[in-house]
């Protein structure tokens, strides 16, 4: 089943009569259960693209179907938002209540979930992100990673099919990032479709496919190996390749050629050991 199917999408921001095109002729397909990483420099149109997916921005031109729903259909917009959950960058700006369980239940109450069902679903969502036991905690008392996991639970409680992470790790410390990424992998393991926007190329290594955005266009889509080992392509998109790839090219420039371009630290070690 196709989770997302978009054809020839255009989007322009209007500000005081000045229009600035943000997305130009973007076509994309995402299969259900896929893990997609969207990479691109600031202003490349990543956030605009994902905000079109769950109808937070109105689709102007083009065709878009998300879980067979059209975001332009006002009557089904709320169903679309339930199916396509979104976690934002700053966890502090997503909390409606400062009590963990109240905040996680916010979406459920918006969708008229029976009151007697709510505690169980809140508990299940918190268990999924490893935050069971924190129900009555104040969000002010949590670390950055824990806050973002609570924000994830708030979305997971609505049982979405697609989860969008809009730079959800960019404000976290390394430990917080690790925690959030571990949850993300676990959620993907449950068969959910994941769309993750990130600046950190290393975070895209686990993805099934990468969408590389540049200047409002989908420059290229492909496997992590295809995209992240293309030094020229990443440089044009103002991105820095993963460490292992950089070392591979540095070695190559010094005349040392490895059998293949490694993507991860482990692959690099393996290749270097083979050199002996």
């Amino acid at each position: 089943m196709q989770a997302v199917n978009g054809k020839r999408i255009f989007f322009t921001y209007e500000d005081d009569g000045v229009s600035s095109p943000v997305l130009e002729d973007v076509s994309l397909e995402i299969q259900a259960g896929e893990f997609i990483a969207v990479l691109g420099a600031n202003g490349s149109g990543k956030s605009t693209l994902v905000r079109l997916l769950n109808g937070l921005l109105p689709l102007e031109k083009g065709e878009l179907k998300v879980w067979n729903l059209d975001p332009r259909q006002e009557s089904r917009l709320w169903e679309l938002r339930r199916l396509c959950g979104m976690v934002f960058q700053n966890p502090d700006n997503q909390f409606v209540s400062s009590i963990v369980e109240e905040d996680v239940a916010f979406g459920l109450r918006n969708y008229d979930t029976p009151e007697e069902e709510i505690p169980e679903r809140v508990g299940r969502a918190l268990s999924l992100v490893g935050m069971r036991g924190y129900e009555r905690y104040s969000t002010h008392m949590l670390s950055g990673g824990q806050k973002q996991r609570v924000a994830m639970a708030g979305v997971l409680a609505m049982e979405p099919e697609i989860l969008i992470f809009d730079e959800a790790t960019s404000m976290l410390d390394p430990q917080g990032r690790r925690e959030v990424l571990a949850c993300l992998r676990q959620i993907h393991g449950m068969g959910k479709t994941i769309v993750m926007i990130t600046h950190y190329v290393e975070e895209a290594l686990d993805a099934d496919r990468i969408f590389l955005m540049q200047g409002g266009k989908l420059r290229k889509s492909g496997s992590p190996r295809e995209i992240l080992t293309d030094r020229g392509l990443l440089a044009e998109a103002n991105l820095i390749p993963p460490l292992a790839v950089r070392i591979y090219f540095d070695l190559k420039d010094s005349g040392i050629l490895l059998d293949r371009c490694p993507l991860t630290k482990e692959e690099l070690v393996e290749e270097l050991c083979r050199l002996k």
Binding site: L56, M86, N90, Q94, S97, E102, N110, D112, S138
Partner: protein, 262 residues
């Protein structure tokens, strides 16, 4: 991990925590009305005694109840000084230039200070024992009659609830901006009023900008989780008023009546 900011909900199992939010809000309004209506020092004494009792019942401790009040000392001093120096009365202690210092003015100022301080303690107690969404739900119920004349009660209550919750965040943000400005040479500690006023401008602008940015992001996050302006209620729980809620309301009504008589 960090400390809970002033005005944040504190987990607990006291009678006050277990009271229905709507009843607690009504009790707060009744208590506040009693404090405002009172104009004698025995009345203020009774109010202070009752507040102390409520603080003890809430298990929060005087430190939490008085939080924020201590920071207002400069404002309180100013109120006291203004009233003492400008109150219109026949019996004057001392007169100099445009200032007419009087005992009546001093006591008038003291009354204002006591009312504001008690209102702040009440607010602290209410917010520390009621979770933000319960409070928003209670406000929605309280404002419900206005819905009949077309007031968007749910939105108003939600805005108030979220705004209350964000007060500590904004004060933290203002403090962070103040430190950043101090590091770049701003002089907030200056004794000169003109310099103090000038230094506030670069603090207010970024705080407001940050507030607008936060509001924008929060609105988007709420929409993404299915919040609709036109549909539903903030709290769908049916209100079950218990005996303790009834006793609370009765005691606050008695307090209000006693304040009028005193």
């Amino acid at each position: 991990m960090s400390f809970l900011p002033t005005g944040s909900y504190r987990e607990g199992d006291s009678v006050l925590h277990r009271m229905d939010a709507f009843c607690k809000l009504l009790c707060t309004i009744l208590f506040l009305a009693g404090v405002i209506l009172s104009d004698s020092f025995p009345g203020y004494g009774l109010a202070a005694g009752c507040l102390l009792a409520v603080t003890l019942v809430s298990h929060l401790g005087p430190g939490t109840a008085l939080r924020g009040v201590k920071r207002m000392w400069l404002f309180f001093c100013l109120i006291l000084l203004m009233n003492t120096a400008f109150f219109e009365t026949e019996q004057i202690w001392w007169e100099w230039w445009i200032f007419r210092f009087s005992a009546d003015g001093f006591f008038q100022g003291l009354q204002v200070v006591l009312r504001v301080a008690m209102a702040m303690v009440l607010g602290n107690l209410l917010m520390s024992t009621t979770s933000p969404l319960e409070l928003a739900g209670a406000m929605e119920s309280l404002l419900y009659p206005l819905k009949l004349i077309g007031v968007p009660v749910r939105d108003v209550a939600m805005i108030l609830g979220v705004a209350i919750q964000f007060i500590p965040t904004f004060s933290e943000e203002a403090e962070a901006i103040r430190k950043a400005q101090t590091a770049r040479g701003a002089r907030f500690e200056s004794r000169k009023l003109s310099e103090k006023a000038k230094s506030v401008v670069p603090l207010v602008v970024p705080v407001f900008l940050a507030a607008f940015r936060r509001a924008d992001e929060l609105a988007m996050a709420m929409e993404a989780r299915g919040y609709r302006r036109t549909k539903g209620k903030i709290s769908k729980r049916r209100r079950h008023l218990s005996r303790r809620d009834g006793i609370g309301l009765l005691l606050c009504s008695l307090f209000g009546a006693a304040e009028i008589m005193l």
